[in-house]
Symmetry: none
Subunit: 207 residues, 4 copies
DNA sequence: CATGAATGAGGATTCATTCAT
DNA sequence: AATGAATGAATCCTCATTCAT
């Protein structure tokens, strides 16, 4: 499908990808201008549509492309030997923060995509997100050890509380970071804070 | 500032407000068309700009207007005698669900506004949200009784876990509801689920 | 529907109508450029679309508008007292030639419309043409006297031969005229030729 | 001129011809897309323009090519021994219907070409049509026997009436056929109808 | 108060054709 | 011979805002 694009010189591929990434993350799908993208990528107006049928396809290609890149790195870095549930969550959250620090533009793009309201792409995005969610769940929580949980605890709801806590913390952190520049993210501080929360939860959930 | 608009016949005010609300919640700030708004409200193009300097002002007026309406109803319905922290959270969450069911259009508008990426209004919205958040906090958690908490618990982080749990549950619920129609929301089910989570948290946090 | 347009100053209406008529008859629906139309009419790009939702509506409005003009003049000039079939056909054909000479641009537009292949407008045009054909038939051939026909003649097929002869002659004439300029059309010659054909047919069909 | 193209493998020639035929008959000259043609023919963009200087040349080559094919078959099937004028017309019309049924795509292409308004090709087409018309006339009506005509009849005008009757019938038939599918064409019915008209004309013209 | 005509830059996309490989 | 990348002008149409009436 996109073999045409992938045969382009890597330099030009990258210019197009980065220009599009930047424009979409800054302005969202609808307001992003293909004019700006070609200007930034220094290609002609026609070429963009030679490789991508339309704006929607460009956007979705970008999404799939960067999801793959991030996912690959994510899964390759997970310590699959750690089978304790809370420790697995800890790792996931920490890895997320690290990747966010390493690829801020991509994560901005993901954020924009997540909140995209445009009917054109919303359904496609939701379809992809569902798939990603399901496959992630399977990969990340298979063979997980839940034996440490206190007896009588509703494990499903407990897991939800853990997830929502990590999400909530993550969101709050991102809000704070928008005010500072990316470089000022202090990983140590974040790690320490994550540990605090996980210890609290461990006290509650584990025997 | 908007005295001109507020002197209009209530009928016309309402037509404009509803037309704008509908357009903005369906399409978001950028894509919303003032053309469609005036058509729906059955007023002339010029009149809209007679009352609101520009699209941005209309949007922000709308936001302030409906925030006020919702907040007033919210605060008037809170049982200020309930001073237990978890019970207060319970009430807040339940009230939110009730208002969401009563005014779905307004909440759609709020959701759209919350995720609005347009540079034009984003800063203004963030300013307002910060104010609302701060003043809400003061109103909702002043004179709250935290004496029931287990000794040695980090109350601030515990509160965050409660907040994030309620938020997480709320978000998940909204995702589910998007698939059904508004009428099918089953408040009893939701209430029961909220109670489950709060009981879990109570077990952990309370002595 | 087009009340907005019809409230415009007659001067501007005419400029727009003529510019569009010219562009559409010269290039056909698809290739006609709205850019050229606004340039020729000396109005802004936006204004055209303020009055007509899109190119299609403009085209169809033009069609309806000029059909009405031509039809009104046509029907007002027919001698409704002449009830002989061949004489009625004679009148119709002559009137057509006169109107063609008077409004060559409009007839060019009609020709272009008749052969329009663009899916966008084809169906709408066919619908209109069917209606026009049916109503014309009713108006033009009601109370017609066919008593002069020879006995035993298949009147329906005879009428078809008359129609096709008049059509064929008309088409041939138009082909010839394309090579000359409009002014050189010699009505006397045409009239004489029409009479020749009708006399031939009269010899055959009438007792 | 087109020796390059004619040296191509017959398979590829045919793919290109059919793809172009299909695209041009469906969309007309202007709207036909060379992109679609190469896609359908499964050749590269450059190759098409290697063989045909431009779209116009491709179109005209196609026209000449299929005119030749159809004409050859047409002339080979005419019964040159039949020298009666009306019978010759009968044969021409019937053969046309048969060829139309056999090669519907080609005739659609011819129809589209006949009504083509695009300045690019219109003049060239008219030139060709004139030549074809003249040479056809010479071939088809040389050595024709007109001795059966009633004395005193204006033979040239009589012939025109016959031509226009056959044309008119043919056009009407095609209009009807557009509504049905090609397979439903009932040749017997058509033949019978043609005979009716020719008998009528025979009564008038022949002694 | 109220109207709606007017603007023109900017939106995404298509197009036939060229040319280096 | 054959490829397909590259061009950029042209396409229709939308938009928020202004202003004369």
């Amino acid at each position: 499908m996109y073999s045409k694009f992938l045969n382009l010189s890597p330099d030009k591929q990258e210019r197009i990808l980065n220009a599009a990434l930047k424009e979409f993350s800054q302005k969202g799908y609808e307001k992003a201008s293909t004019n700006e993208i070609v200007k930034e990528a220094e290609i002609s107006k026609g070429l963009l549509f030679h490789y991508f049928k339309n704006k929607k396809e460009l956007f979705l290609f970008l999404y799939d492309h960067f999801v793959e890149i991030i996912m690959d790195e994510f899964y390759s870095k997970i310590d699959w030997n750690e089978r304790d549930l809370l420790m697995r969550f800890r790792e996931i959250t920490v890895l997320e923060f690290e990747l966010m620090k390493k690829y801020p533009d991509i994560f901005n793009f993901f954020m924009a995509a997540y909140h995209e309201e445009s009917a054109d792409v919303k359904i496609e995005l939701e379809k992809r997100n569902k798939e990603i969610l399901v496959s992630s769940y399977q990969k990340l929580f298979t063979d997980i050890d839940t034996s440490k949980f206190k007896q009588g605890i509703d494990i499903n709801r407990a897991i939800n509380i853990i997830i929502w806590t990590m999400e909530g913390f993550s969101n709050e952190q991102q809000k704070k970071e928008k005010l500072r520049s990316v470089d000022q993210i202090n990983m140590d501080e974040i790690l320490s804070e994550i540990n605090h929360y996980l210890n609290l939860l461990k006290t509650f959930f584990y025997a």
